[in-house]
Structure formats: C-alpha cells, structure tokens
Symmetry: C2
Subunit: 136 residues, 2 copies
C-alpha cells in the first residue's frame, strides 16, 4: 500500500494558506469535493462528472481525500458491487473554501482586459495575451 505523504512544510504567516492548498490540490480533488457537496455519490457517478479522468486517477484522488479525512468510503457487500463516497464533517467544513473558488472562477472565466493591469502607474507594457477559457 503506497503511503500518502504531503510535501509542503514551509511555514510563515501564510503557512495556513499553503497547508489548505496542499490538501485540495491535485488535479481533481477540487471538483470531486465540489460534486460531493451536493450529496453522496457512487464511483461511476463521480466519474461521469469528470469526463477526462481515468479510473486510476479517480481512485487515487479519492483515496487521498479519504486519507485526509474529507470523504468516507462505504462498501456494500453486494453483487454487483456498490461503493458510496460521502463527505465527512471535516469534508463539509471545506464548503466555504470550495465555494470561494467556484465563485471566483464563475466571475472571472471571461476575462475583461480593461479591469486588470491598472494597479498604480503601470507601464501599459506586457499586455496579457491569453487566458484559458472554459469549454462547454
């Protein structure tokens, strides 16, 4: 069984920011957490929401979330197999964080060049050329 380790030990007043980021970082954890906020889901249900995820990656991410105490994995001894993923209390405590991320994303995915780059007496140089857009 591969042990799960966290890497960031660097501290400072902003340590808490990094600590939290590290926990929800990892390619799919954010979205998984977001979807689980709507309720318990089964493996393939989650999978359908993440179009490009491979089973291997989804398992890995879910295992990390479980290890970090965010989700509870419940296996039913049935045929065919049934596994449910539910947020724990700790997992639900992330709701404000996830929602802050979502709100910002919703508000800024279509970027308005006129509102950025105007901080102080900026040069006007270095025009931001491209931000990623959300497809579909």
């Amino acid at each position: 069984m591969p042990r799960i380790r966290h890497r960031r030990l660097d501290c400072s007043p902003g340590c808490a920011v990094e600590a939290t980021l590290e926990l929800i970082d990892g390619k799919w954890k954010g979205v998984i957490l977001f979807h689980l906020l709507q309720g318990t889901m089964r493996f393939n249900a989650i999978r359908k929401r993440l179009p490009n995820v491979t089973p291997r990656m989804l398992t890995a991410q879910l295992r990390e979330l479980e290890h970090d105490g965010f989700v509870l994995r419940t296996v039913y001894a049935e045929v065919p197999p049934k596994v449910e993923y539910t947020l724990t209390e700790r997992g639900r405590s992330l709701e404000p964080v996830i929602m802050a991320l979502k709100s910002w994303g919703d508000a800024h995915t279509s970027f308005d060049p006129a509102s950025a780059d105007r901080a102080t007496g900026g040069t006007g140089a270095g025009p931001p050329d491209s931000w990623p857009a959300c497809r579909s």
Copy 2:
C-alpha cells in the same frame, strides 16, 4: 522566453473550481498572494517570507502570477536595482479566496479526531493516523 501554459481544460459544473485552483496552484503562489495582500513588496522582501524558496522558483512563480494578471511588476531604473511587486485589481479580487484558504487552515491545522469521520453509519475503521503540522 518560456511560454506559460495552463493544463486543465476539463469542464463540468465544477469547472470553475478547477479553473481557480489551477491559477493559484503552484507551490508558492498562494503564500505570495497572501503576503502581497498586505501591500507592495520587493523581491528580497518576499523571499525572506518564504524561507525555503530559491531565487529561480520565486522568479518563476512571480512570472506566472504576472502572466495571469494578478501581480504588476514595476522596475525602477536605479542602481542598485529595485523591483516592486503589487497586486492588480484582478489580484486583489482573489482576497476572499485566499482568506477562505487561510481561515480553514488556521482552524484545522490542529486536527481533532473526534469531529471527523462521523458522517453516517461509519465503520469506525481506518483511523486517521497523521496530518501534517505547521512547524514554527
């Protein structure tokens, strides 16, 4: 000049979550953003706040933040050189996100086992063994 690309294009209702996460992900961006919220800082001032960062990494992270329109880099034609980093409007718009991350981290760095893992009719098995603690 190495072009900066973003990778995550995967969409779904939770797309915005991932989109935001991607922008502030990257080992040091969260803390940098956090510190810049307190005001304009110079390169070495930021560096002092991130004890274990190498100049190369700090430069890279700042360049990405600049590319994403979060920070403004102002170079003064002086000797010795002076470069200041300031948040843009767009950068400051991240404040709720950063603060959500920090609040959660502050509240959960000392983990209380009694409050987690009690979701539904949990098994009680799989005791969470170790979470990373903040040193210093």
